[in-house]
Amino acid sequence: MKTFTLGGVHPEGNKLSRGAAIEKFPSPQIAYISLSQHLGVPAKPVVAKDDKVKVGDLIAVGEAFISANIHSSVSGVVDKIDDYIDTSGYKVPTIFIKVEGDEWNESIDRSQDIVRDIKLSSKEIIDKIKEMGVVGLGGATFPTHVKFMLPPGKKAEYLIINAVECEPYLTSDHRILLEKPDEVLIGTEILRRALNVDKAYIGIENNKQDAIALLTEKAADYEHIEVVALKVKYPQGAEKQLIKAITGREVPSGKLPIDVGCVVNNSGSTFAVYEAVQKNKPLFERVVTVTGKTVGKPSNYLVRIGTSCSQLIASVDVDLSQIGKIISGGPMMGKTLVSTDVPVTKGTSGILLMHTGESSRSLIHNCIRCAKCVQACPMGLEPYLLSAASKNEMWDKAEKAHIMDCIECGCCQFTCPSYRPLLDYLRVGKRKVGQIIRNRAK
């Protein structure tokens, strides 16, 4: 079975919510819709206070090259446009919408029928994806349409759909594969045509055998799509590792997947692409896994963007006094929430409630030079060296040792027997070196 060659770790899967079917989560009372829930330049609001909006109405437009449109996830009245906290506690411009009823924009096809016929041309598909504000739903929230607008001179050979979901605990992509296999396959076909390539792979890790079986059976009808089962290993869901696992190609340092002829798209986003292109439905809701070892009812919810995390947490039967950390995303790469008032954004793949024992850090010891971090690093870096360079502010040394190639997967920190905060140091270093490189370019 295929997998990537360098490094990687095997954290416990803990897919507690794998059996929980996707439930529709009720609309919130007030939706907090952030203007920067994608990578790149924040969107510019096109509504004002007291404007009436319907579900799916455009409320903010992404004008810059790397930016995305934002649509209302609820129907109601715009209360105000003000700053509101994001995951880190920093405030970002947000549109507050007071919810009244649930009236949808008429152009959205709300029927359950599966639309198989793809009518649009490559350019029209990309424009539609852009219009509907689809971004990468794996967590990085890179605007999908930008990925498919290839730079001149570059040619794609493969489309890879990332259904790996290598993060422990998270099951949102798994549930989408099981419950919407036809839609995901049609979405793949749409993206394949947009990219104008002959081959599309869907990579699924072997811990989702039901999804592999189902997709393989259904994909028999599509001559260009192949489902690839992958050996379970973290971080297989990282773009470069997935390309290596499926095609055997290695993305060189500082290059993009397109440089080796690949474009990678998340399976949740592929479903969103299907809805955008075939059903004219903007991205205003997403599947969020709410889980944790002490959670009574681990669930997968279809949540409107802008719903407060506290509502999701309240619905899963959990004793909050035992919870030490609440994480947006998975345990390896997710961000710790500073407040449960934080709203769900396009990038919220899960909410993980970790109990106190599990979440507290162990005592940090000295580095014993065991090189476990070097073996675990999927990018072939030397985390012990980079963290020391970063700690001692030796930025030129960190740059020479390729700190900018770090994908922040956390394998080094996971495997360290001395519990050293390697990733934390690497993140500081990456940020600092990035600044230095940008200043140099000026």
Binding site: D83, I85, S88, G89, Y90, K91, K335, T336, V338, S339, S360, R361, P421, D424, Y425, R427, V428, R431, K432
Partner: protein
């Protein structure tokens, strides 16, 4: 046995003599005439290599001074006027006296005024904490308290107070080189004039949020009400980005603003107490604040 001894001694002596000759010739041939004044000036400088002057270390400044042949625009902020006068005497130049400076911490968000809402458990570095979160109190402008400023000071003039969690500046040791200010990721520390008799008035907050939002996280925040701006007879106070700033070149130390401030964000330092019973100690910074 004897033979081995003799061979070693002779061989080593020969090598020593040859090496000495080479070194002597090299020293003569490659001799560089260094201005002896540079060494003298460098000796007068504090020797902490803080970089506050803009040169890489004290030797760098000494070289620049000797090369320029004047003290214009060159100054050791840590040493102050005293050191500059000594240098001027040595070189026969004229030192222009400038106002002595000191670092001030523009944050009043002590643990008491801005209580913790979450726990931060990662590496104890302000630079990193600033990247991952807005801080334990929720104020994204406030002091994080992990002591990056302490690491930036080469004079031991700053430490983090255990009780308040805020940095405290030792007035006797601080020369105003700005090492701490350069290390602070949030730009909280400002280098200001020490003021006459070491007295100064400053707004100890840089929160740019609206009053209500600032107050939510910290009871000592400047809420941008503008009362101080109105009461100031010298137009020394300006209001920008929801917080006030006192221009130390215009401030005449009347302290009307201190009395007016509803949150106590304006600190007046080193003034004798007006009335004993009204004297309150705001923090352990040994600062006497008159209300």
């Amino acid at each position: 046995m004897n033979q081995i001894l003799i061979i070693s001694v002779v061989a080593l002596t020969t090598i020593g003599v040859i090496a000495a000759i080479i070194l002597y010739v090299a020293a003569k041939k490659f001799h560089v005439e260094e201005d002896e004044r540079i060494g003298k000036v460098a000796e007068l400088l504090p020797g902490a290599n803080c970089g506050g002057c803009g040169y890489a270390g004290c030797k760098g400044l000494a070289e620049a001074i000797v090369k320029a042949g004047s003290l214009e625009g060159l100054k050791c902020p840590a040493g102050g006027n005293e050191v500059m006068e000594k240098i001027a005497d040595t070189l026969g130049l004229v030192a222009e006296a400038t106002a002595p400076q000191i670092a001030v911490v523009r944050c009043s968000g002590s643990r008491q005024a801005a209580p913790k809402k979450v726990d931060y458990d990662s590496i104890k570095s302000c630079a990193y904490a600033n990247v991952v979160s807005a801080g334990e109190s929720g104020c994204k402008y406030g002091c994080l308290g992990y002591g990056d400023c302490v690491k930036g000071c080469n004079f031991g003039a700053i430490h983090i107070d255990e009780e308040t969690g805020l940095p405290v500046i030792d007035e006797d040791k601080c020369g105003g080189c700005g090492g701490c200010a350069r290390n602070c990721p949030r730009g909280i520390i400002e280098v200001r004039d020490r003021g006459p008799k070491n007295r100064r008035v400053y707004v100890s907050c840089i929160n740019a949020e609206k009053g209500a939002a600032a107050k939510k996280n910290c009871s000592a925040a400047c809420i941008g009400c503008g009362k101080c701006v109105k009461v100031c007879p010298f137009e020394a106070i300006t209001l920008d980005k929801n917080h006030a700033y006192i221009d130390f070149t215009k401030c005449k130390l009347c302290r009307k603003c201190v009395e007016e401030c509803p949150t106590g964000a304006i600190h007046a330092v080193n003034f004798p107490p007006k009335k004993v019973e009204e004297t309150t100690e705001l923090s352990k910074t040994e600062i006497i604040v008159n209300k």
